[in-house]
């Protein structure tokens, strides 16, 4: 009898390391316009081949083609482009503020702006998003959210709405349908399902939208969310933002090798889509499809947004240590801002000149907001919320031991 060969452990590697050129052929892409649009009341089985394809609307020349072309007017698209630009400019400026030590930490969403901004456009007031730390576009796309308030949170200053308790970027804004961000990954994914279940229990019409990254899909709460969403047919959109990287770990280490994250949804009985996350029109169309399904009591939808984390993981990260420096420039799905701009120019609804003008306006707007925020202090100048507030909100009313500890501190 022949001895069997020695077993070998498979440890996935990314297709490009520093000094190399990434081979992006591992990405399963489909030509824009080529993936069909199923009926709203389709079963998960009807989406089986969709989870291995890629829904796209914008072609190489910026034309909108195929069954997923959304009914969206130019005004909304212009607003979307502006919101994406605002998000990117805000990120760049806060990155600088971190280097100036006005805040301790920051996380950009460079390259992922379309996903949050276009998704938000497909939701309604009252819906609740359960974001990660990289969906700032959900806030920055809203005119009723004060950029200065967000910066106050980042700087933990005396006007910080979260009273200096939270790490920068862990915003909370119920009024804007933005659930409190937690540092613990994936926890919010199942909470989104619970919120959606509550809305269904109450006979409400509002829906929930849960967010998670590719890396965090490996957490138990990802599985928990899919199971509960399916069992109770919860009115929730389950968004997986596959930006290829979890800090230094390529998405293959999270379980993406030779499969997709959208495929997980089908396995759990949830109609699922895989969408070009850098295609504003596709993001809007797929989000609207999922929102309509949820609102019509047709249950949850899982969407894998294929994109690329253009920037460092955070201000504490140096991606040149684990991936090629020019990776983002070579990513086949390009830059969401450039792609929507090209489309609007083609429509005759945007120009290079206007782009530059809007960019300058937004730069000024962000700078002005930063000035407003800094009037209330920065982490650097030590104008922070009073230490006495540290003991509040642990419970609804501070119990005796917390009152005593506050006295011990003498505040």
């Amino acid at each position: 009898m022949r001895a069997s060969s020695a077993l070998r452990l498979n440890v996935p590697e990314p297709p490009g390391r520093p000094g190399c050129i990434t081979d992006f052929s591992y990405l399963r892409t489909s030509p824009p316009g080529s993936v069909r649009k199923p009926a709203l009341d389709c079963s998960h089985i009807d989406t089986t081949e969709l989870v291995y394809g890629l829904i796209g609307v914008l072609d190489r020349d910026g034309r909108a083609i195929g069954p997923w072309v959304p009914d969206i007017d130019t005004t909304q698209l212009r607003r979307g482009l502006r919101a994406m630009m605002k998000t990117r400019i805000f990120d760049a400026r806060m990155q600088v503020a971190q280097r100036q030590r006005k805040t301790s930490f920051y996380m950009q969403c460079l390259g992922e702006e379309a996903i949050a901004v276009a998704h938000a456009a497909a939701l309604q007031d009252g819906d609740m998003c359960f974001p990660t730390y990289r969906q700032q576009g959900l806030l920055l796309c809203r005119d009723d959210v004060s950029m200065a308030d967000l910066i106050c949170q980042l700087m933990s200053n005396t006007a910080d709405p979260l009273k200096g308790r939270q790490l920068p970027v862990m915003y909370s804004l119920k009024r804007a349908g933005f659930f409190s961000v937690s540092g613990n990954l994936a926890t919010q994914f199942i909470q989104a399902v619970g919120w959606a279940m509550a809305s269904a229990i109450r006979g409400d019409t509002r829906i929930a939208s849960g967010w998670i990254g590719d890396g965090a899909t490996a957490e138990a709460d990802f599985h928990n969310a899919l199971t509960f969403a399916h069992v109770y047919r919860a009115p929730v959109i389950l968004n997986v933002v596959n930006n290829q990287w979890a800090i230094s770990s390529f998405q293959a280490i999270a379980g993406g090798e030779s499969t997709t994250f959208a495929a997980r949804g089908v396995g759990c009985g949830i109609p699922s889509l895989r969408v070009d996350g850098n295609d504003f029109l596709a993001v809007y169309a797929a989000s609207l499809w999922a929102a309509q399904r949820a609102r019509a009591n047709l249950g949850p939808t899982l969407i894998e947004w294929v994109t690329y984390r253009g920037g460092a993981h955070s201000t504490s990260d140096d991606p040149s240590k684990y991936r090629p420096a020019d990776d983002w420039q070579r990513f086949p799905l390009g830059d969401p801002i450039e792609r929507l701009k090209q489309h609007l120019v083609l429509r005759g609804a945007w120009s290079d000149q206007e782009h530059e003008q809007v960019r300058l306006e937004l730069e000024a707007e962000v700078a002005a907001s930063q000035r407003d925020a800094e009037r209330h202090g920065t982490l650097l100048d030590g104008r922070i919320p009073s230490a006495s507030t540290m003991f509040e909100d642990v419970y609804e009313t501070p119990p005796p031991h917390l009152r005593q500890q506050r006295q011990e501190l003498g505040v």
């Binding site: 909370s172 409190s180 937690s182 919120w195 509550a198 709460d221 928990n224 199971t227 609804e396």
Partner: protein
């Protein structure tokens, strides 16, 4: 009422009064719970108010946090306290901190019920007392009743509380008081005054201990099953012990504890949970801090051993009346 009936009555009263109260967990719906606590609730209030959940503690608590953030008052059940561990992240990182980290933007009025404690030949995973893992978490309230009257009143208070509450139910007390004499037949709650439970709404406040037995010679700090063990030990030894049933473990009623120890000048802390870093360590530290100049003897701790809960050696493990009694004698004679 038995403790089971009292708990069911609390759920019934609250579901009747408040349409936001929703009860769910493994086997709690149609079947009415493996301990019958939720029996009949689904038939009475419908499947959207009382329903079965997948076997997934992290999912149960995580979904409940989301429901609470929406504005419901979920009462989630973990079938045994021994199985809360998969939900640890949701309890510690989420439920406990939601109000704090959002500066009150979101809150978590959640109750998590879990049967706990030993003395039932439950072995390693049907006997644990994990209360110290909750009392250490800022933002949680941890509660444990010792009788049907308190069980109902405390559960109503827990559900009405806007803070997340861990509600631990000593399953050994479900059908009758248990003083550790496992060789004697159990006395049902129907023959005990604390089994007399009003059918309507009433509260037993959180943060309020109860003097379980008045005494002058020494103080015993106890909760759950151990209140009954302490009473039996006091009877056996003839020591006039004052037994304090903490009821709310944390935040706790420090005033009642301190007043008692300053009066008796001696203190024993007893619990079923393992000793090292158990909740008894916190109680010991508090008594030492607040009663040092009144104490006439070192504080005694009688607890489960620092081992996993065994099956065959149940009665060598469980801190029964003879072990507690020995400690009371040492304390009284010191």
């Amino acid at each position: 009422m038995t403790m089971i009936q009292a708990l069911r009555s609390a759920l019934d009263v609250m579901m009747e009064r408040d349409p936001d109260v929703v009860v769910f967990g493994q086997d709690v719906g149609y079947f009415g719970g493996v301990f019958r606590v939720t029996e009949g609730l689904q038939a009475k209030y419908g499947k959207t108010r009382c329903f079965d959940a997948p076997i997934n503690e992290g999912g149960i608590v995580g979904a409940a946090v989301g429901m609470a953030a929406y504005g419901l008052r979920p009462v989630a059940e973990i079938q045994f306290a021994d199985y809360f561990y998969p939900a640890s992240d949701q309890l510690v990182s989420e439920a406990a901190r939601l109000r704090y980290r959002s500066a009150g933007d979101f809150t978590c009025p959640l109750t998590v019920r879990m049967p706990c404690g030993g003395g039932i030949y439950g072995g390693q995973t049907h006997s644990q007392s994990p209360e110290a893992l909750f009392t250490h978490v800022c933002g949680l309230r941890t509660v444990m009743p010792s009788n049907p009257y308190d069980a109902k009143g405390l559960l109503i208070s827990a559900i009405e509380s806007n803070d997340p509450v861990i509600f631990l139910e000593p399953k050994r007390l479900y059908n009758g008081p248990f003083d550790g004499h496992h060789d004697r037949p159990i006395v049902p709650w129907s023959r005990h005054p604390l089994g007399v439970v009003p059918t309507g709404h009433y509260r037993v406040p959180l943060d309020a201990a109860r003097v379980f037995r008045e005494g002058r010679q020494l103080t015993v700090l106890a909760y759950g099953t151990m209140c009954w063990v302490a009473e039996s030990a006091a009877q056996m030894t003839g020591i006039d012990a004052e037994i304090i049933d903490l009821r709310s473990l944390w935040p706790l009623d420090l005033d009642t504890v301190v007043a008692s120890v300053r009066k008796t000048r001696r203190c024993a802390v007893i619990h079923e949970a393992t000793r090292t870093s158990g909740f008894g360590a916190e109680l010991t530290a508090l008594v030492q801090e607040h009663c040092f100049y009144h104490l006439e003897a070192p504080i005694e701790r009688v607890t489960g051993w620092d081992t996993p809960y065994p099956h065959a050696q149940e009665w060598a493990y469980f801190p029964g009346p003879s072990r507690v009694g020995a400690a009371l004698r040492r304390l009284a004679e010191a």
